[in-house]
């Protein structure tokens, strides 16, 4: 996925523009920049601008009304709730998995690393299908769950499970290469000096991986709040019960309430912009 914290902010261009051997004629440069910026405007900028333009098409009153309406407020609450469960779970897993893989040698390490990436290559729709097969009314545990009055599919636990699955690798895949590159000498020195495991983690490892950790959590959080396909399958689209923000956008859109749909979508777009700002900031800090 995205390049991890790299040296992206350094001025590479100057290095290449210095010599005629690594420079293109001015017209080639102009054409390439024009092509890139046209593609950028068409595919990235225009959709972003459209969200806000459509959201405000009928004015601020309609915009605000769409956001404070009870179903919308519930969708905000539910999205925050699901994210507040899924992100910490994957944060703990990510740190533990990275600690295991980066600090120890054991057989099957490469396989484990690949398996952690697996959720990224599963279609969100299939993620939803898995949980329906296991916990749905006709699924393996369906009848037992029904007897005991527990709902997982078409209820909040299903939304949480689906979200945990799709955001599973984010923190781990950010931390594993970072911790591998840092090696384990500092931690081993701390052991020799008599520090306990927890102290080593809090005082030696954590400060070193801080920026990678924030980076992973920010990406994990954005995906958790914005996931659509997987939660769509397990949600059942029950208003005021299992409707997260992206699902609420879909319902409004399908009911031809376009201004309201885009108003709610603009919240998610703001979240995306915030994510990109924090991400750029972390890249800049961590260089």
């Amino acid at each position: 996925m995205a390049a991890s914290i790299a040296t992206r902010w350094t001025a590479h261009s100057q290095r290449f523009e210095a010599s005629a051997a690594t420079r293109e004629p001015a017209w080639v440069k102009g054409v390439l920049i024009a092509v890139a910026l046209s593609f950028f405007s068409l595919f990235l900028l225009l959709p972003l601008v459209t969200v806000f333009a459509e959201a405000l098409r009928k004015g601020w009153a309609v915009y605000l009304a769409a956001l404070v309406e009870p179903d919308a407020l519930f969708a905000i609450y539910l999205t925050l709730l699901v994210t507040a469960i899924a992100v910490p779970l994957n944060l703990i897993f990510g740190v533990t998995a990275a600690w295991t893989i980066a600090k120890f040698d054991f057989r099957g390490k490469q396989l484990l690393t690949t398996l952690i990436d697996l959720p990224f290559s599963v279609s969100p729709v299939i993620v939803g299908l898995m949980y329906v097969l296991i916990f749905g009314a006709q699924g393996w545990f369906g009848p037992w769950l029904m007897e005991h009055g527990v709902r997982i599919v078409f209820a909040v636990p299903g939304l949480v499970l689906a979200t945990v699955f799709v955001t599973f690798p984010f923190v781990a895949r950010e931390l594993i290469p970072l911790m591998q590159a840092q090696g384990k000498e500092e931690e081993e020195a701390a052991v020799v000096l008599g520090a306990s495991g927890w102290r080593i983690f809090w005082h030696v490892t954590l400060p070193n991986i801080k920026w990678g950790l924030i980076y992973g959590v920010v990406l994990c959080n954005a995906r958790a709040m914005g996931e659509f396909g997987a939660v769509s399958v397990v949600s059942g689209h029950i208003r005021g019960q299992t409707n997260t923000l992206p699902l609420h956008v879909e319902i409004l859109y399908n009911e031809y309430q376009f201004a309201a749909a885009f108003a709610v979508a603009s919240l998610l777009a703001l979240l995306a912009l915030l994510t990109l700002v924090v991400k750029s900031w972390v890249e800049w800090r961590g260089r």
């Binding site: 996925m1 995205a2 390049a3 992206r8 261009s13 523009e17 010599s19 051997a21 690594t22 293109e24 390439l32 920049i33 092509v35 890139a36 910026l37 593609f39 950028f40 595919f43 959709p47 972003l48 459209t50 969200v51 897993f93 295991t100 120890f104 054991f106 484990l112 398996l115 952690i116 697996l118 290559s121 599963v122 279609s123 969100p124 729709v125 299939i126 993620v127 299908l129 898995m130 949980y131 097969l133 699955f165 290469p177 590159a181 384990k184 931690e187 052991v191 495991g197 954005a222 914005g226 659509f228 396909g229 769509s232 992206p246 859109y253 885009f262 979508a265 998610l268 990109l276 991400k279």
Partner: protein, 277 residues
Amino acid sequence: MHARAARRVLPGFPLALGYTLVYLSLIVLIPLGAVFLKTATLSGEQFWAMVSAPRVMASYRISFGLSLLAALINAVFGLIFAWVLVRYRFPGKRIVDALVDLPFALPTAVAGIALTAIYSGNGWLGQWLEPLGLKVAFTPLGILVALTFIGLPFVVRTVQPVLEDLDTELEEAAASLGADRWQTFWRVVLPVLTPALLTGFALAFARAVGEYGSVIFIAGNVPMVSEITPLLIITKLEQYDYAGATAIAVVMLVASFALLFLINGLQAWTSRRHGSI
């Protein structure tokens, strides 16, 4: 085993490995296994009939064909994009660079309705394109637009770091030997970028094949014409045809895992060529 354990100076290995494996199994491996187990209840013939029905075959053609096309578009424009971001200075470059990741950060449903609004008959671009006979929204072309949108960052972000690490000496040597700029790019720079470019291409393709949210709004979802495979899985589920949904899901999973395998190989190739990236 004793010698190995003795070399582990740091604490917490059994607990950390145990937790990692249990969590991985509970969240990822067992649920995925459930999909394969469910299809095991079908006979070979039943399975084949389900995954090769005409409507299903049409959906593979649409999903895989358009994903391939979108990944190709992204490979070309992603390379230009990465080149421009690394090599040139222009106003607003930092903002452009940061916004490249927008498709990762923007929820797919939001992207889906925004693209539909742009390309539908009364949309900003649709109102100009439709009189020209170019219908984008609610046609396969719309699917292509959505898949191109979500795949762009993959190519840019895999090619960009390799391009940044490229030594200027390589190109200077080529120039001093009399190569013109185009020859240098074609014969010297592009071969170095190839593994990264292929990785980005494969990542974009893999993402596009499974994509759902950004596509369904703009696709029109007409069976045999503009119905993607993930949507067909949902349709089957809504008709309580669990076996049919699962059989198609298995086909997609096998394709995705083959792609993942390929991508891992490509990434190993990239890092062998350029050190750790």
